[in-house]
């Protein structure tokens, strides 16, 4: 909350700075904007940005660093013998943070006064109950060392926040004053703002990259934990997926990988021909009118949430397939036990991917220069001969790229397989049987009562990382192929 106020305060300051800077620049030019080096707005922006950007930068770093510093500090205050044998220092610290946070909330709501907090005693006053009243549930009674640590935690963060507010506000004011003083008719505000904008853009780009790296690192960390608890040979080369909570789970990725690849293969078999032919029709044969109506329609298909496709699989496609292949069905065979199967999920996922494949292929086919088609038609080729012998070969690398992108989407798809494919991990070639995929197992391992110290839970991270590596590899390959193809015409 104080941070929000601080940011608002900074914004207010720089808005004022904007007007002040602009006014000063205009004044230095005697009210005639033509005499200024830059447009008046740039002088205002310059002042505003120098009040805002450094202060916000420091604020961000501070917010990240402060909890870490305080954590180490408080943790070092905890005596070694105050940590129960069945707990780790980290767990005690999380208790400390929770109590500190609870006290903050209680004070904030007025349930406790600062003085009362000071007077709390771990043994006598029932802290757990009082914090429970304000909505902070604690796992156990608060021990005296924890309470003491929580107190110093609060004190430290309180001081830290105060110092932070002072530093940030001071920095902002200093920035404003500095650039306000430099505002003059000959000052190259426009160029400075240009550099400021560049810095902002770089900041945004690096944030995006840093988060990606962060995600990968956290996955790596948890995966390493998992391999500390479970044999990697079973994970990569085992043959069974059978998690249980007795401690002898078999957690092999192979049956899941098989299910994933099988379903994706069926999805591609459905989506690639249909999507590609649709793209060829749209870009080579369809008139303007058809195109202007069919293309948006296909793109709407791409906008349907996958959960809706999942419902479609569950309620329509699955029962329909069961009516055909199931007991007492149209074929009179009994090949399909329930509505969920590899085929159900694959077909529905294929339908989902059709617009994806077709719009990518459409772009690629349109990128083939018209002069290629003219050359072929001018030699007396028909349209389909032209498509087959000139347009498609020229577009082929791009289309392969599109297919690989579609494959990586299929591999990462979750909702449709959760609802359409079933939950049995096994190796089977029969597309009418239920199977399961990596993504659905990740979901099921992480939902419900989870204990982040057991391999049954941590395996989700190993699965996720494998999935990530798989799709990343496909995407890189696809981009490489698409880029190589682009060079041909540009």
């Amino acid at each position: 909350m104080p941070t929000l106020w601080l940011v608002l305060f900074l914004l207010l300051l720089s808005t004022l700075g904007f007007f002040a800077g602009r006014a000063r620049a205009l004044k230095s030019a005697g009210g005639d904007p033509r005499k200024l080096h830059s447009l008046p707005v740039y002088y205002g922006l310059n002042v505003a940005l120098s009040g805002l950007v450094p202060a916000l930068g420091v604020l961000a770093v501070w917010l990240l660093a402060q909890p870490m510093l305080i954590d180490t500090r408080v943790s070092s205050l905890l005596p070694e013998d105050s940590i129960p044998a069945d707990l780790t220092r980290d767990l005690v610290m999380s208790d400390v943070r929770r109590v500190a946070e609870g006290l903050d909330i209680a004070v904030g709501q007025g349930a406790l006064s600062e003085a009362e907090v000071g007077a709390l005693k771990a043994g006598s006053s029932d802290i757990r109950a009082r914090l429970g009243e304000v909505g902070v549930a604690l796992g156990s009674d608060v021990r005296p060392e924890v309470l003491a640590a929580a107190r110093s935690y609060r004190a430290l963060s309180h001081t830290g926040t105060l110092v932070m507010a002072a530093v940030v506000a001071g920095l902002s004011l200093a920035g404003l004053a500095w650039s306000y003083a430099r505002t003059h008719r000959d000052y190259r505000a426009r160029n400075v703002v240009e550099r400021g904008v560049l810095a902002l853009l770089i900041l945004a780009a690096s944030l995006a990259i840093l988060t990606t790296i962060g995600i990968v690192l956290s996955m790596l960390f948890e995966t390493a934990n998992f391999f500390g608890l479970h044999d990697w040979r079973d994970f990569f080369f085992g043959s069974t997926w059978a998690p249980n909570f007795r401690g002898d789970s078999e957690l092999s990725i192979l049956p899941l990988l098989w299910g994933t690849l099988y379903i994706s293969l069926i999805a591609l078999l459905v989506s690639v021909p249909i999507g590609l032919f649709a793209a060829i029709y749209l870009s080579e044969y369809a008139g303007k009118a058809t195109r202007s109506f069919a293309k948006p329609l296909l793109e709407i298909l791409a906008g349907i949430p996958t959960i809706v496709y999942g419902l479609f699989a569950l309620l329509t496609v699955g029962p329909m397939l069961a009516d055909i292949f199931g007991k007492g069905g149209a074929l009179g065979v009994d090949w399909m036990a329930g509505a969920t199967s590899v085929l159900t999920a694959g077909v529905v996922m294929g339908i989902m991917l059709i617009p994806f494949v077709s719009s990518l292929s459409d772009d690629i086919i349109n990128a083939v220069p018209q002069s290629m088609r003219d050359g072929s038609l001018g030699l007396g080729a028909t349209r389909s001969e032209t498509v087959r012998s000139v347009v498609l070969p020229a577009a082929l690398p791009g289309i392969v790229g599109a297919v690989l992108l579609a494959a990586s989407r299929a591999i990462g798809e979750t909702m449709i397989v959760v609802m359409g494919a079933g939950a049995i991990a096994k190796f089977s070639l029969n597309p009418l049987e239920s199977m399961t995929t990596i993504t659905t197992r990740i979901v099921s391992q992480l939902t419900g009562d989870t204990d982040f110290a057991s391999p049954e839970t941590l395996v989700a991270f190993a699965l996720g990382l494998t999935l990530f590596v798989l799709t990343l590899g496909l995407n890189v390959l696809a981009l490489y192929i698409v880029r190589k193809y682009r060079e041909q015409y540009e």
Partner: protein, 265 residues
Amino acid sequence: MNDMSRVERAVEIKQTKMECRDCHVYYGDTHAIKNVNVDIEDKTVTAFIGPSGCGKSTFLRCLNRMNDTIAGARVEGSFMLDGEDIYDKRVDPVQLRAKVGMVFQKPNPFPKSIYDNVAYGPRIHGLARNRAEMDEIVEKALRRGAIWDEVKDRLDAPGTGLSGGQQQRLCIARAIATEPEVLLMDEPCSALDPIATAQVEELIDELRQNYSVVIVTHSMQQAARVSQKTAFFHLGQLVEFGETGQIFTNPEDPRTESYITGRIG
């Protein structure tokens, strides 16, 4: 005997290969070709000249119905090839384009090997019975396109890897590989150096023995060198059409005169 044949040739009456009457072309609302009448004679080179944007390419594209592929283009009038209306409903434009070949303003080799580029037309029309015949057709076309010596060692290399001038000669070879009766060439030499230009002009002269050739050009010298008939277009209209010699020495229309002397363009 020799004298006799020379006399015979001089009086030989050239047949009309294509006859175009009251031709109009519209691109949407733009009236690009206005009431053009032209006769293309057999075994003759006809040159189309005129300032940029006057409709030379547009008219050329009417002659093998390439305007069909442009959305919004509308062609009116009668275009007869050997007395048959090429815009008749029963005429297959695909068959027509095999008979009336085209070389485009910009070189457009397919992203295939040089060999496959040339073999493309003969393959779709089934002109060769076996690989040896195809090899022969390809070699002959490349020789006539004045590019054989440059590419004979790398027929498997991609056609797009050639230089601009080589690409254009490859496209010419590709067009004549299907043995068209009429060859339409839209500024075939605009990307060529003087030597290659001379070779292409020689080729055009040779093609004249068997086919009729229509060539669009911006070079007055080229038109004067290679053509027997010249048509001058201006703002979508055919201003003057006649013997090349006469157009260049003694034009009837003042606009023709100012164009060939370089005063409008």
